[in-house]
């Protein structure tokens, strides 16, 4: 069936089955590869995107649930139109030299932006609960925590 998706402000028509996970529509149909596949069962957060501003695991979200919603991917938060929070987070990530292999980081950054959009001054416990769904096998967690705090400082 044909589904209309709004991704990063642009409308896309995709012809797919309604239960196809949003992740694979973004990656294989729209050919936007910044959103990553890590587990396929909402356990790792590599596929995190925003749906109407909420962080969701796109690997476990059937595409039909995304129809009519505003989807934002890592590409969307990296454009010039990005929000101040997005810019602060990415800047803090670069300044803090957070990444190692980098494969988890699109998801980490999407989760961090969603956290700070809602809660600009998160406590350690807030960070733990917002970020513990995002695995980093390179274990960059200490720097992720530091970068979130740094971005928070820039924002308030």
């Amino acid at each position: 069936m044909s589904i209309t998706l709004n991704v990063n402000g642009a409308e896309h028509q995709v012809d797919t089955t309604p239960d196809t996970p949003l992740l694979w529509v973004i990656r294989d149909y729209l050919e936007m590869t910044g959103t990553k596949f890590g587990c396929g069962m909402a356990m790792c957060g590599a596929c995190t995107v925003h749906m109407d501003g909420q962080p969701i695991r796109s690997c476990s979200t059937p595409v039909q649930l995304a129809a009519g919603k505003k989807i934002t991917t890592i590409e969307g938060v990296s454009s010039s139109a990005a929000s101040p929070v997005s810019r602060a987070v990415q800047q803090a990530w670069d300044d803090g030299q957070v990444v190692q292999c980098g494969y988890c980081q699109s998801g980490q950054i999407m989760s961090a932006i969603a956290l700070l959009e809602k809660n600009p001054k998160p406590t350690d416990a807030d960070i733990d609960s917002a970020m513990s769904g995002n695995i980093c096998r390179c274990n960059t967690y200490q720097r992720i925590r530091g970068a979130i705090k740094e971005a928070s400082k820039q924002l308030v």
Partner: protein, 742 residues
């Protein structure tokens, strides 16, 4: 990974003979440009939209190829003033694109901003790992160590030629020309030129003899020892390209239905239902299972679930890990092959006042790199091209060449960023690459992206082997350690690999490293090993043998110290009197951690020190234990001596990452088998560390002028024993199996 057998050496030497012919600098340069040009050309043809081309090269090199100044295999300078540093090792997070580029930038006196790091093509002649002979590949924390001189000479040579070019253009003696941050200048006349402005002229000059090249003295370093920002860019905005992200014209995606147990083959299959979808293109039987080829991943996966496969399980693995461990425990009580023996441990233990005995158990572990294994392969009649987080170039070329009947140079490997590896991508049988090539061979002319699901990745084996260690130690009446006997039981990683040279008299060094090399001054020490055989494929896993030997040795020495009424740090310092670098990190970590200072109630401190891959690391862990036994690793103070610290921030990052990586098996990770089936399948039951479990980590680097050594692995071994020792300090109990249960 340091021992390549003669057979492989000979085969590799034969393979590279043809390339060998191109020895003169001019020819090398032409060949080099051809190779580099080939990367671009191949991609231009193959990439579906021009916009993606820039993204395909890991860092988007902009140098104009035809005009590039390429004095050697590692440096290329364009008229646009960009400097491309060709990196022969895979970037999998460890920071090698930054570290190796630093070495070139240092000696070239380039501006850091003008440097791009770009992945080398596969060429075992030009880009071999100098520690591995004629073989290109990454592992054993060797990238910086084997490249230290090579990359510096490459940079210094390029600089000498640029200086010569300036001297010629300005008609001045070379001695009067200085180079600073990418600009050549002459103080007297005020003349200035950039690298880009001199690139074409420099390219016409002779390459100076290596012997005439002067390298900087450490006190002249400006980049080495400074935390330059990373060069593996594009990782915070989604533009970095991993294998999973490769898009080629006409490419199809393949998933494979793998056997449920090791040792199983396909008996028959029915693909009618699977083929019903119009997005499924083909279903193919390959040696490792049934491949579904489709227009996208999800269609392929859904179709795979609809396959009806009958497996031939007549030779299937049917053991459970409980049974394996029970067998290993029995074996550990008997004698094994001798890995190390000095003094007379039997007598020493017989006459000891106190003998302590411990049996340690370590489960299988999966690497679980964040990017599940995947590979893009294109097979044509007389060539093959691969896109992969390519870690084991020469071995992969050989295995694929053999499969296709092609000479190795016809197997072109494009090295992309790897979404982690931890050893997994350096596979002696090139398992997932060969699988991709089998499918691509059946679909000749069509690029195939093989995608493993997390479940495929986690259940494919190539695990860190399971081990049992039996250790006995004796104390005399004064509390001195008089004897230590250790028997390690588990599968050999090196058997049957090209690194079989590491097996001597039946002793696989990689099973005992760290124990057979125990540095403590103990008068009677014997370490034995029994290599078992199981149907479970095993592989090196970040820090290899040290993953388990550091645990048994560092918790056992701690137990002996406490038993002898001695402070664990003091005792270690005393027994390490002949090992100043061990002592150096131990003392630094203990001092910075405030060893001996009071802690809150329910908290404990533990220490461990270990050398691996010629780097020395000590860690002090602080844990808090609640009344219900729940505990948290609160803080870790780490000291590392890795010789000249090339990039302190990357070293810190690798220690932090290594600590988190090593904490996972200490706290939560284990692979188990039930009747031959791998029980764990994804992150819900193979747990790894999450942010709420990550302690605060503090890293201190020992200043050193010794040749630099690796940091990718050495941060891992000490953390589990440091945590166990800290727990013991609180609970008074010892923990003999991982993951730790309090």
């Amino acid at each position: 990974m340091r021992w390549i057998n003669n057979e492989t050496r000979a085969e590799l030497a034969r393979s590279f003979q043809e390339i060998d012919g191109l020895a003169s600098p001019q020819e090398s340069r032409r060949h080099f440009l051809k190779v580099i040009g080939g990367i671009g050309a191949g991609l231009t043809l193959a990439v579906s939209s021009p916009g993606t081309l820039a993204k395909m090269l890991p860092t988007g090199v902009t140098a104009a190829e035809g005009e590039a100044f390429a004095p050697n295999a590692f440096v290329r300078i364009g008229t646009d003033n960009r400097v491309a540093v060709v990196i022969k090792h895979v970037e999998m997070g460890q920071g090698t694109y930054t570290g190796l580029a630093t070495l070139v930038a240092e000696e070239l006196d380039a501006d850091w901003e003008q440097i791009d790091a770009v992945g080398a093509p596969a060429d075992g002649k030009r880009y071999n790992n100098l520690y591995w002979g004629p073989m290109q590949g990454t592992g054993g924390s060797s990238a910086i160590a084997n490249s230290y001189q090579q990359m510096r000479i490459a940079g210094a040579t390029a600089k000498a030629m640029l200086v010569a070019a300036a001297a010629q253009r300005w008609n001045l003696p070379t001695a009067e020309i200085s180079v600073n941050k990418g600009v050549l200048s002459h103080a007297g006349s005020g003349r200035k030129a950039t690298f880009g402005e001199l690139a074409e002229l420099a390219a016409t000059l002779p390459v100076p003899d290596e012997k005439s090249i002067r390298l900087k003295e450490p006190e002249e370093f400006t980049y080495i020892g400074t935390s330059m920002p990373r060069k593996d860019v594009g990782k915070t905005d989604g533009t970095a390209i991993y294998t999973q992200d490769v898009w080629l014209e006409g490419m199809l995606t393949a998933v494979v239905a793998h056997p449920p147990r090791f040792g199983t083959k396909v008996k028959s299959f029915d693909a009618k239902e699977a083929k019903a979808s119009n997005r499924v293109v083909d279903v193919i039987q390959i040696p490792t299972g049934i491949a579904v080829v489709a227009k996208d991943y999800w269609s392929a996966k859904v179709a795979r679930d609809k396959l009806n496969i009958e497996w031939d399980e007549s030779r299937a693995m049917d053991k459970s890990t409980d049974q394996i461990m029970a067998e290993y425990r029995e074996i550990s009580k008997k004698r094994g092959g001798v890995a190390h023996d000095h003094g007379s441990v039997g007598d020493a233990l017989d006459s000891a006042k106190t003998v302590i005995e411990a049996t340690y158990e370590f489960p299988y572990l999966a690497h679980a790199a964040m990017e599940p294994m995947n590979c893009v392969a294109l097979v044509n009649k007389d060539s093959c091209e691969i896109w992969n987080g390519e870690q084991f170039q020469s071995i992969d070329q050989m295995n694929i060449g053999k499969l296709l009947g092609l000479p190795v140079e016809k197997v072109k490997l494009n090295m992309l960023f790897a979404g982690g590896s931890f050893g997994r991508r350096a596979n002696p049988v090139s398992d997932y690459l060969v699988e991709a090539v089998h499918i691509a061979k059946a679909k000749m002319g069509t690029p195939i992206k093989l995608v493993w699901s997390r479940e495929d990745d986690m259940q494919a084996g190539y695990f860190r082997p399971a081990y049992v260690h039996r250790v006995r130690g004796g104390l005399d009446a004064e509390g001195n350690i008089v004897g230590w006997e250790q028997h390690i039981v588990g599968q050999s990683i090196l058997t049957g690999t090209p690194f079989g040279q590491g097996i001597k008299n039946g002793v696989d060094h990689s099973s005992v490293e760290g124990a057979s090399t125990l540095p403590y001054a103990i008068p009677n020490l014997r370490v034995e090993v029994t290599s078992t055989e199981e149907q479970v494929p095993v592989l090196w896993w970040r820090s290899v043998g040290h993953t388990h030997t550091a645990y048994s040795t560092e918790t056992f020495i701690d137990e002996l110290a406490v038993k002898a009424g001695q402070d664990p740090v003091d005792l270690r310092m005393k027994l390490l009197a002949d090992h100043p670098r061990w002592q150096g990190v131990l003392k630094l970590a203990a001092d910075k951690a405030g060893w001996g200072k009071a802690l809150p109630k329910g908290w404990g401190r533990g220490v461990a020190v270990h050398e691996s891959f010629n780097s020395y690391v000590a860690q002090v862990a602080e844990v808090s234990v609640a009344d219900d036994g729940k505990f948290k690793v609160e803080r870790v103070v780490c000291a590392v001596d890795c010789g000249v610290p090339i990039n302190p921030d990357v070293i810190r990052a690798q220690m932090e990452g290594g600590i988190g990586f090593g904490l996972a098996p200490a706290l939560v990770s284990a692979i188990t088998l039930k009747d031959g089936k791998v029980v764990e399948s994804n992150f819900h039951n193979y747990q790894v560390l999450r942010i709420n479990q990550m302690p605060e980590v503090e890293v201190h680097i020992v200043p050193s002028a010794a040749p630099p050594t690796g940091v990718g692995e050495p941060g891992v071994p000490p953390i589990a024993p440091a945590v166990a020792n800290a727990l013991a300090a609180v609970t008074g109990k010892r923990y003999y199996s991982l993951p730790i249960k309090v």
